[in-house]
Symmetry: C2
Subunit: 232 residues, 2 copies
């Protein structure tokens, strides 16, 4: 097993997204075709919120493992992006407003009453992965950010055109991610390319990205099972 | 065992500092009496740096456990204070400059060659305590901040007067802590008072603060053993 060049390695990572990123899941395909009922779309928003709320948690766990303050300085921005700071409410608040824009009251988002058990298990598995794995592997699992910007660009257009009942102020989360995700992906990829120094480590990074795609996929599996098409 | 009032509880916490804070350790007493040799003072600076470097690590672990983004938003400032941001180099860099001000080259600080095994064990024990304990207990262990400002005020004066060979730009770390520590102590104390809802939890918080004093004390024990007076 030879060491992959940075180009080969990056291509292998990108290939994970082509095969397994959640845009290929039937629930997601139907979302972007405008075919989800309001109930199904609300269920997606409320369940995905459990994932959103855990992003700063997994990022704090990765932060605790990064070896130098220079690396922490870059990584900490992810936590600030989601938790917000004075004058910028951040991604978690923006997702709560997406909930409000589809008529899920704030308190119903925060008390997690809509969160399905399998969604909780998948997201908790992701947090524990970041808690327990070596930091370059945990960072590799974040590289779904590589595939996010294209999908989010589509999603903004889809929501505006195919779900006109969603109030437009709910889309701010996605607009912010359009510039945050590429920056995060560049930084994450740079760390992974630098830290994976033999083929075994490269394969672990690829496996970590597959694992993360499984997490996102499992969220949609749970939604598809709980909110099937015929029920609407 | 009755629940302690906020006043009684705060007094019990402060009593820990009166009995066991490291200002009472012989090595520290001699430091503030101006009696440490340059070798002994350098050893303190280089070993204490291992503690300083681990502050953002333990704070990231606590961050990962805090239940809401509001609490994380406050706590994250501790990490930024130590790691720095653009335009503010932060506490770790300031401590490296303290090292330079006592003639320890930057690379000798960073490669940890001067760090004694027992110092490493004590600091690692503190990080693991914050990793493994419930977050209110981990927060309680940070409350040595309650006792720090008085000591740091004295230390700035002591270093200026009794160790004139320390270049004054080395004291910036302590000057910054003069306003950071009281803010951190207030926030930490507020969380501990709020979260410890029965006497058992209050006693756990007091025990956590005792544990933290043991950590700081053990650092000085290791220094006293490795750099005894007669050796200078």
């Amino acid at each position: 097993m030879h060491l992959l060049s940075n180009e080969e390695f990056t291509m292998r990572l990108r290939r994970v997204g082509e095969l397994r990123y959640h845009d290929k899941h039937p629930y997601h395909v139907r979302m972007h075709e405008g075919k989800l009922s309001p109930t199904q779309l609300r269920a997606w928003v409320a369940n995905r919120f459990y994932y959103q709320q855990n992003i700063p948690v997994k990022d704090a766990l990765i932060l605790s493992k990064l070896p130098t303050r220079e690396e922490r300085r870059d990584w900490i921005q992810r936590i600030i992006d989601h938790d917000g700071r004075e004058g910028n409410e951040g991604g978690i608040e923006a997702w709560i407003r997406l909930g409000e824009a589809v008529d899920i009251p704030r308190e119903e988002m925060l008390d997690e009453r809509h969160v399905l058990p399998a969604v909780r298990f998948a997201v908790d598995a992701y947090v524990n992965f970041c808690r327990l794995q070596p930091w370059p592997v945990a960072v590799a699992s974040s590289l779904t950010e590589l595939f996010a910007p294209v999908l989010i660009t589509q999603r903004i257009a889809v929501f505006e055109r195919l779900y006109p009942w969603i109030r437009p102020e709910g889309l701010e989360y996605f607009q912010a991610r359009l510039h945050q995700a590429p920056r995060d992906a560049d930084h994450g990829l740079e760390l992974v390319l630098r830290e994976c120094k033999d083929r075994r480590e490269q394969e672990q990074a690829i496996a970590a990205l597959n694992f993360k795609c499984d997490v996102l996929w499992a969220i949609l599996d749970a939604l598809g099972l709980a909110f099937p098409n015929e029920a609407n």
